[in-house]
């Protein structure tokens, strides 16, 4: 089956304001990616190409060499790099064999550029995330 499960993406705050059809359009852009235990999924400081949602397995999050968190099924990472093309702020390492669904900005950006409704809703989600971050 092509794409990521829609329900996995509906949990991501960035997509919170999208309806199921709109999430479905984005879900179809995702591709499965597998990692072996110990593989580096993303490296702190590198350019970011893709956003990932974990389908199965676990991953550890490290910043500056210090372990900060464990990610599990349903967790996601790298979504901001889809938009700002910035560098990765953490290293994520597969703690077990890991199955993710990922989308690159080459696939994501054209969809958003051609669909103003999705673009506007994403902007609103980002504004909420930003507002929450400022208030903390």
């Amino acid at each position: 089956m092509a794409g990521a499960p829609i329900e996995a993406l509906q949990r991501v705050p960035l997509f919170a304001d999208l309806d199921v059809d709109e999430v479905g359009q984005i879900a179809r852009l995702f591709k499965e990616r597998r990692f072996h235990a110990g593989d580096t999924v993303i490296q702190e400081g590198s350019g970011g190409a893709a956003f990932f949602v974990i389908d199965s397995g676990e991953a550890t999050v490290s910043v500056g060499g210090s372990e900060r968190a464990t990610l599990k099924t349903g967790d996601y990472f790298g979504e901001i790099a889809l938009i700002d093309e910035g560098t990765r702020t953490a290293t994520i390492t597969a703690a077990s064999d890991l199955v993710c669904f990922g989308v690159t900005f080459w696939d994501f950006r054209p969809l958003v550029e051609h669909n103003g409704v999705i673009g506007w809703k994403l902007l609103q989600s980002l504004a909420k995330i930003y507002r929450d971050a400022r208030q903390r």
């Binding site: 794409g3 591709k31 690159t104 080459w106």
Partner: protein, 271 residues
Amino acid sequence: MKEVVSLVEAADTSLFGSKAVGLGQAERDGISVPPGVALSGDIVEAVAAGEEEEIERVVAAVRPLGGPLAVRSSAVDEDGADASFAGQHLTLLNVPSWEHITAALSEIWWSANSDSAITYRQRVGLFTRPSVGVVVQALLDPDSAGVMFTQNPVTGADERVIEASWGLGEAVVAGLVIPDNYRIASSGEVLERTPGLKKIAVRTLPQGGTVEEQIAPELRERLCLDDSQLAELNQLADRCDQVYGPARDIEWAIAGGALYLLQCRAITRAG
């Protein structure tokens, strides 16, 4: 365009990448290469995306190759430059069979779309979407293999320099053995035969992967190429000069009594 063709038909670098077209050109010019197929960048992406119809097309093309397989990325040229970008030259040796081809193609697609590949592209000012074709070939189980320079890479002299060992060429390329060393004048005269110390051979495993096999003591310092094989290698060098141009770095293998070209690229001169 989502294309899968036999290697001899691969002629468009914008679809299949330079590695596939290079091997296709060799085959069109009568040079033996392991049997294989070329996949366009678009069909590789379709397989990575899980598109069932395209997966079936690829499986149907790959199944006749049997197993195991060598699956090599073939980066699509951009702006006429040699596409030697980080993460785009992933090669998967000893993929057990067609049943594993989807996973192999997914891994290759992601290597071309990885963070490191993107970082490199951003650094060199390339903001276009990468496209990676793939070459799938039957993986040989060679008696001997190695590398050949069609021009001396150190002195530039007009002679062939050959390094050879038992089994897969990985033993030579990865520096796992001291290989035999041969020099042949372009006329065919053998100028040097220096046996190496070949304690191991790299062999394929039926279930995938490779193993280092101990070589019998009496074979470790025995030359693994005879004069007729050296003559064939010299002829291969002549043909590669004609097809690809001078100063080539060739990977070759001898399996079942036949000599095959595995890869051919320009020499990077030492020093």
